[in-house]
């Protein structure tokens, strides 16, 4: 009796392994899109749309897998061996890391239109309904008693853009680097918690009810306002913000190894098609296509933005000065 039990137990276990593993490994062509945290809803819509248009052109069916997380973590994973056919990030330096690691060719920005960024967004403020603290512009964020929620600039593109937007505002308005430094220091002194991803910061603000203002990407802000908030939040556009284009590229080393260059390139090019741009606009990201932009003009009020590279210099320099270990960001965080 006892041996029988043991045997049937082992049998069941083996059967379970077989069933489970058959489900885990599937044979279909698939490509993996490794992306940043808050792009998940966008690619959830892009993927099936691309898959059907790809198949309609007489190609074999393709599955697009998604992986999302804080930008640095995702890039780190790709460098450590996560086999991404394409990466869709929200900042140039993330992809430069992959260039340095020898995974992406250095000419990646020239292979696609708009410096390989199919859409752009900007950094805005989300405040609680009625704007009880009267937050209008960047200087309101450094007032004492105002709690600001920002994702961690060390590890997220979203947070980095927020930091650079504040820095750019200060440079433009107060002229000297010294004053810009004091300004961002005062701002980050008002940040009670730094989340590891853009979405984490949003849930901190909405679900945990922390903070008076959430500084995040426009698309995240509108999504929050329209689909989650239930009219609990207002969006505030500051007088000057940062232009945040989201670059994409195929990962050369991976697509060459897996033989997926064609489908991966087509996947990225699909982002620039009118259908792709329409999906992008529906997710509150500013499309490149003028006709689509016009159609969604109501969603995207005119904003005054600056380009990081034009105002502050090349990305490599900005990253080194601001975010390298011991850089300005570390200095203001230590001394706050």
């Amino acid at each position: 009796m006892k041996t029988l039990n043991l045997r049937s137990l082992i049998g069941t276990a083996l059967a379970a392994v077989a069933v489970a593993s058959s489900g885990v490994a599937s044979a279909q062509t698939s490509i993996l899109n490794v992306s940043y945290d808050v792009a998940r809803e966008l690619y959830k819509d892009i993927n099936p749309a691309f898959a059907s248009s790809w198949q309609a052109k007489g190609n074999p069916p393709v599955t697009i897998n998604q992986s999302h997380g804080g930008s640095s973590k995702q890039v780190g994973a790709v460098i450590a061996g996560l086999e991404a056919d394409v990466v869709t990030m929200n900042q140039v330096p993330d992809i430069q890391q992959l260039v340095k690691a020898g995974l992406v060719n250095s000419d990646w920005q020239k292979r696609l239109p708009n410096d390989a960024a199919p859409y752009t967004t900007t950094t805005v403020f989300v405040v609680r309904k009625g704007n009880p603290k009267g937050i209008k512009d960047w200087p309101d964020l450094i007032k004492s008693g105002t709690q600001v929620i920002v994702p961690n600039p060390k590890v997220t593109g979203n947070g980095r853009y927020t930091y650079l937007a504040a820095w750019g505002f200060a440079i433009k308005n107060y002229k000297t680097e010294e004053k810009a430094r004091d300004f961002v220091k005062a701002l980050f002194a008002n940040v009670p918690v730094l989340d590891g991803g853009g979405r984490g910061a949003t849930t901190t603000f909405t679900q945990r009810n922390m903070g008076d203002v959430l500084v995040t990407f426009e698309n995240e802000a509108i999504l929050l306002d329209k689909e989650v908030g239930g009219d609990q939040f207002d969006i505030v556009y500051p007088s000057l913000s940062v232009d945040a284009p989201a670059p994409v590229t195929v990962v050369d080393k991976v697509v060459d190894k897996r033989g997926t260059r064609n489908v991966s390139t087509a996947y990225l090019e699909y982002l620039w098609t009118p259908e792709g741009q329409e999906i992008i606009a529906k997710h509150y990201l500013r499309p490149r296509n003028a006709a689509v932009m016009k159609k969604y003009a109501k969603t995207f009020p005119a904003v005054n933005t600056f380009s990081v590279e034009k105002l502050l210099g090349p990305w490599d320099k900005v990253m080194k000065e601001q975010f390298a270990d011991g850089g300005i960001y570390d200095q203001i965080m230590v001394k706050r």
């Binding site: 276990a13 379970a16 392994v17 069933v19 489970a20 593993s21 489900g23 885990v24 993996l32 490794v34 945290d37 998940r40 809803e41 897998n65 998604q66 992986s67 999302h68 997380g69 994973a77 460098i79 450590a80 061996g81 996560l82 086999e83 991803g197 979405r199 984490g200 849930t203 689909e227 989650v228």
Partner: protein, 298 residues
């Protein structure tokens, strides 16, 4: 006279007993307070959150609940989690028993060191545990390029998740058995050997029945942790939905997508799996107790 003395002694011992009783029996308000605090704690920190999971899961009704569970990504997360348990629990069962057996029944140099090693996964943060595997098997790791060249995926694939889970859950069985087997000593095994039993027989008929309860308990704990592990798996998973997302990771994804009802639906299923594990444990205990009782009657 003798009676008088004995009465005095009795009185003394009664007094003594009374003191002992006093020491273990607090006044009723202390007892009530302690029980009350215990119950409140149990209610607030165990029952209430567990209930909240189910309430939140069913907030949008049964249809939404079922839809969240039959979603292909959720389904693949469920299958992956079961696979993790089915692989890592037997592995830890075998190696945990072997390690406990070696440590408690034999003397050999480096024994203390081995015990320390077994404890290592408990003292190391799960995130570090995951990073260890990235450092060893990642593309920049020690063996990474070799695996890459041979097209073997360890990290960011199912094998890496299994390795990380086995690492994190390793101590559960061994740690449960070592004190138990140490307390039991090795006299019974020695007697069995003197009577002519061979290695396997000694284990099967002497050791195993003695450690069965500890073993089952260890397996239950190991299983619960294997299914629920988040940190280590999160580091090595790569978060590919439909492929390398286990249930805890899927819950996080859904939650981050504002899909709260679905997140709690999957979480509730995870909770149900844990409850089922507990039920199995209780059932096995009850069954074994009955078999034991029957044997005694015979």
């Amino acid at each position: 006279m003798a009676g008088g003395i004995s009465t005095a002694i009795d009185a003394k011992s009664i007094k003594c007993n009374q003191k002992l009783i006093d020491a273990t029996q607090e006044s009723s308000w202390v007892r009530r307070l302690l029980i009350g605090v215990g119950l409140c704690y149990f209610f607030l920190f165990l029952l209430l959150p567990l209930g909240a999971v189910f309430v939140e899961a069913l907030r949008k009704g049964w249809d939404a609940y079922l839809a969240a569970l039959v979603d292909p990504d959720a389904w693949s997360a469920i299958k992956l989690t079961l696979l993790i348990a089915v692989v890592s629990v037997p592995m830890n069962l075998i190696f945990g028993v072997a390690a406990a057996w070696a440590i408690t029944k034999f003397q050999f140099p480096g024994k203390r060191f081995l015990i320390t090693l077994i404890d290592l996964p408990f003292s190391v943060s799960p995130v570090i545990a995951g990073l260890i595997f990235v450092l060893v098997f990642g593309a920049q790791g020690w063996f990474g390029s070799w695996f890459m060249d041979n097209d073997i995926k360890i990290i960011f694939a199912v094998p890496g998740i299994l390795l990380a889970t086995i690492f994190v859950t390793f101590p559960f069985v061994a740690r449960e058995l070592i004190p138990l087997m140490e307390a039991q000593g090795k006299e019974e095994e020695e007697a069995a050997i003197v009577l002519g039993a061979r290695g396997w027989q000694v284990f099967r008929y002497v050791t195993l029945p003695n450690i069965l309860w500890g073993l089952i308990y260890g397996v239950v704990l190991c299983n619960a942790r294997a299914m629920g592990e988040f940190g280590a798996v999160s580091v090595v998973s790569g978060h590919i939905r439909g492929e390398t997302n286990s249930m805890p990771l899927h819950v996080e994804i859904l939650y981050n997508e504002y899909n709260f009802a679905a997140a709690f639906a999957v979480a509730s299923l995870l909770a149900v799996l844990a409850l089922v594990t507990l039920l199995i444990k209780t059932f096995v205990a009850w069954k074994a107790a009955r078999i034991h009782a029957e044997l005694k009657e015979d």
